[in-house]
Symmetry: C2
Subunit: 192 residues, 2 copies
């Protein structure tokens, strides 16, 4: 039982990890814990719009663990120009350390789901990645482009980075969002 | 698709709802969104210790929605001396309003799981309620009793309120916690 408690206190640290987006109506950045909760429920709401049938339970578990590694690495905005392969290797090391608090029978399936999410090849992973990419953009679309403007991210850069994962994971969601993003561009809600 | 987006923006407001406990090492109160995420992963970690087999997918979904009604009602500390039946009726009204953004095929099973959690009669619901009751106490046990001291909650009052739900939902967890709570009492970490 002490292992379980050590784990649940360890993951408390994800509440410390702030992202670039702000919750609507709040003057603070959101953290990766509340973000993970939001997209887990987003998965339930969006599941009927998935093109291929998805296993909602596997998708939700992926989303609950997908940012855990940030406890060690911190959050990096998806538009950052960094060595993403190296960053993901560091996150995997972190995931193994954090889930290493638990017995391997419990940890191994969660690590495997993290890896499946990152590989982004299965239908479940593609759906989960679409949710993760869409959520900050949906917040920005309702925050006058807050994190795009603050971080100088242009419309073209946003579309180039999020179109493929959202379209591949949930075409209907991209159809909706592409129109909203174009409207936001006309309103000047992007960085230069 | 607009319904789905309206829903996911509506639930963003749970990030505004603060609780009485603080994340470990942070000088701010936690919010109900990050709390919900934490106990969903707690469920995965604790599942092997459940007395009766639990359906982890149902338990996690219950935990993801269990506090949604607080968007309308706010969070109330579990030790508050209020009309809990009336408060829960208000929360159900809120849950129906918030999930009412979604088509009824999606909303109805989520509302049913919220009701099952509140009824606290099924094995899954008892396990989920144990997690929800245990988590703030586990934070307090690692925060020198922060919310107990700040809100004047005595050791007896804590045990009276959380023993039954935790013991009924996960006897092994209560066995562990009762010893930790007694130690914390000796250290003077409770209110008068």
């Amino acid at each position: 039982m002490q292992q379980v408690v050590d784990f649940v206190l360890e993951i408390d640290k994800l509440k410390h990890v702030t992202r670039k987006t702000k919750p609507i109506g709040l003057d603070r950045h959101e953290n990766s814990a509340e973000h993970s909760w939001q997209i887990a429920l987003f998965a339930h709401a969006l599941a009927p719009h998935a093109d291929s049938p998805v296993d909602i339970s596997r998708v939700v578990t992926m989303l609950l663990v997908h940012d855990l590694g940030e406890i060690d690495t911190g959050d990096t905005i998806v538009f950052a120009d960094i060595d993403w392969e190296a960053a993901k290797r560091d996150e995997l090391t972190a995931i193994r350390r954090i889930l290493g608090h638990l017995p391997s029978e419990t940890a191994a399936p969660l690590i495997a789901l993290w890896e499946e999410f990152e590989a982004n090849e299965s239908d479940d992973a593609r759906f989960a990645n679409a949710l993760d990419r869409a959520m900050p953009a949906l917040l920005n679309l309702n925050n006058q482009g807050q994190s795009w403007r603050e971080n100088g991210i242009s419309y073209d850069r946003v579309v180039r980075r999020i179109e493929a994962p959202i379209r591949d994971g949930c075409p209907g969601l991209w159809h909706y969002m592409s129109a909203r993003l174009a409207e936001a561009n006309e309103k000047g809600w992007f960085g230069a």
